[in-house]
């Protein structure tokens, strides 16, 4: 017997898969076949262009919202840059999935992970606490060049903590190292938050709108919404599943988070050259942040001159290090 024969004999006969394993594999394949993503991959770019336009418009709406909130609340001033390590709780354990190969599959795994987080419905007087680490250019540079990407040697991590009551009436944040609590309407400060009842109604992918309706005509794009609100696990899962069905979702398997650790970026191309991505932990599928990165060289022509973007330029990178419900402003768990 030669060595090939020995290899065949010594390791025994073929291992037969269990029926359950085979069924799971077949189901995964069928799911892939029926997923919207598969069906849109070969669709015309025209439809994508229209979608991208809508996304850009929605993103603009978010930007407007953010500006209103910051100016009105005044409670979001970053604390001194102490750049703590990422301490988001990460669910460990073996996920019941094969290593995913598509954005839709990643999002399904993220939904599965989200669904397993412990949760207790909050009271109206409790607060959503969100702690972010944001990578930004140093203030002096940022003031001069507000639209620039994060420059090498200029970037720094800023820790931002904010509290918003479930009923939307109270908000808090640090200003000059001091916790500032504001009530809506006091001192002429107003802000608008999406109603809790709207949030909790998004229990299934088909109940999730592309932009979460806010007060008046405002809508917040889903990608931004999930970073601005602490939502119940089933709602977060429904959002991920809704995004999984969105056309044009792509994977960037080589994204890194703010600590330089590997992450997976899932997102869409906007304006033809920017990838707007949600970041997930590569191992646990935990939602950890978002970023906006140029995926190809681009020149924007504006009234104030041309703006050149290079592939790899990062325009925004935020890690959500804590997202939880707490009893009062200042609480972090």
């Amino acid at each position: 017997m030669d060595e090939i024969g020995a290899l065949r004999e010594a390791f025994g006969g073929d291992e037969v898969p269990g029926q359950a394993a085979e069924n799971r594999a077949r189901a995964a394949l069928h799911q892939r076949m029926s997923s919207k993503e598969q069906r849109v991959t070969s669709m015309s770019r025209k439809r994508f262009a229209i979608t991208a336009g809508v996304v850009v418009a929605a993103a603009a709406a978010v930007a407007v919202t953010a500006v209103m909130v910051v100016r009105g609340g005044g409670g979001h001033a970053p604390v001194p840059d102490d750049a703590p390590t990422l301490n988001a709780p990460v669910a460990k354990g073996v996920l019941p999935f094969a290593r995913p190969a598509s954005a839709a599959e990643y999002l399904e795994n993220a939904a599965w992970t989200a669904e397993r987080k412990p949760w207790k419905d909050p009271r109206p007087d409790q607060f959503m606490y969100i702690e972010t680490l944001e990578l930004r250019n140093k203030p002096a540079y940022e003031n001069e060049h507000p639209n620039d990407p994060i420059r090498t040697g200029m970037g720094e991590n800023r820790k931002i903590q904010e509290w918003n009551s479930i009923d939307g009436q109270t908000r808090a944040g640090y200003k000059d190292g001091r916790l500032v609590v504001a009530r809506r309407g006091q001192g002429g400060e107003y802000w608008d938050r999406i109603a809790w009842s709207t949030i909790t109604s998004m229990t299934r992918p088909d109940k999730v709108p592309d932009a979460v309706p806010g007060p008046g005509s405002m809508g917040i794009e889903l990608d931004a919404f999930i970073g601005q609100y602490v939502v119940p696990p089933n709602v977060q899962a429904a959002i991920f599943r809704h995004l999984a069905q969105a056309p044009g979702m792509t994977i960037n398997p080589d994204a890194v988070n703010i600590d330089g650790r590997p992450a997976v970026g899932l997102g869409r191309i906007v304006e033809g050259y920017l990838s707007q991505e949600l970041l997930f932990d590569q191992q646990t599928y935990q939602f950890i942040g978002e970023r906006l990165v140029a995926v190809k060289d681009h020149v924007s022509h504006g009234d104030d001159g041309d703006r050149v973007s290079h592939r790899g330029d990062v325009y925004r990178q935020v890690i959500y290090s804590k997202m939880t419900i707490v009893d009062r402003p200042g609480d972090t768990r």
Partner: protein
């Protein structure tokens, strides 16, 4: 919706009528137009891919690898070129790439197999002395030799030995020149021969 011709249906409903690589390639071609046809590719090849992955990685990882092999293949069906490779080499190539991601787990598996046999060899000394080529002992030697092989070399050897691919098919599966496949196989076989020789020496 694409039209489904009678000939297409014949392949779907009478798999026995479709033979060899051409039939498999036909199924992939059909799946480019009618995705559901890919189920037949799965039905024909899943168990083989699973068995191959299980031999290299054990049953747990094999389930993941086998499942993902077909997801990846489905996603890439439009780039499948039947002139370049048959369906089997194509699928084994995808599986090989996925298995390569678990190279550490694979070498750990061989190490464990070698160790387990090493312990048993002591107990079965009488058999060894009697000169019997004990399959378990041989497996230990081979496992140790497989552990030492670089993954790309091991992949070539095992695609021949365990998947039953020809050298040419291995080259197509791994997307490497035929000469490279040949030289890797030569090296791997030498290592295995050496391992077996050691076993015979012990037995003698």
């Amino acid at each position: 919706m694409d039209d489904v011709g009678e000939a297409d249906l014949a392949v779907m409903t009478q798999p026995g009528a479709a033979q060899g690589q051409d039939a498999g390639a036909d199924l992939v071609e059909q799946a480019k137009r009618v995705p559901e046809r890919f189920t037949a590719v799965f039905d024909q090849h899943y168990r083989q891919i699973y068995a191959y992955a299980a031999r290299r990685l054990g049953p747990d990882l094999a389930e993941d690898v086998a499942s993902e092999t077909f997801l990846v293949a489905f996603d890439r069906r439009h780039s499948y070129d039947s002139a370049r490779a048959g369906v089997r080499p194509w699928l084994y190539g995808i599986a090989s790439n996925l298995i390569a991601r678990h190279a550490r787990a694979e070498t750990r598996r061989y190490k464990a197999l070698a160790k387990a046999v090493g312990a048993q060899e002591t107990g079965d000394h009488a058999d060894a002395v009697a000169g019997r080529l004990d399959a378990t002992a041989v497996r230990g030697r081979l496992a140790e030799a497989l552990r030492r092989l670089p993954e790309p070399v091991r992949a070539v050897l095992l695609l021949v030995a365990w998947a039953g691919l020809s050298q040419q098919e291995v080259a197509a599966a791994l997307d490497i020149p035929a000469g490279t496949a040949r030289s890797r196989l030569h090296r791997a076989r030498q290592e295995m021969r050496q391992a077996l020789g050691a076993e015979i020496e012990v037995s003698e």
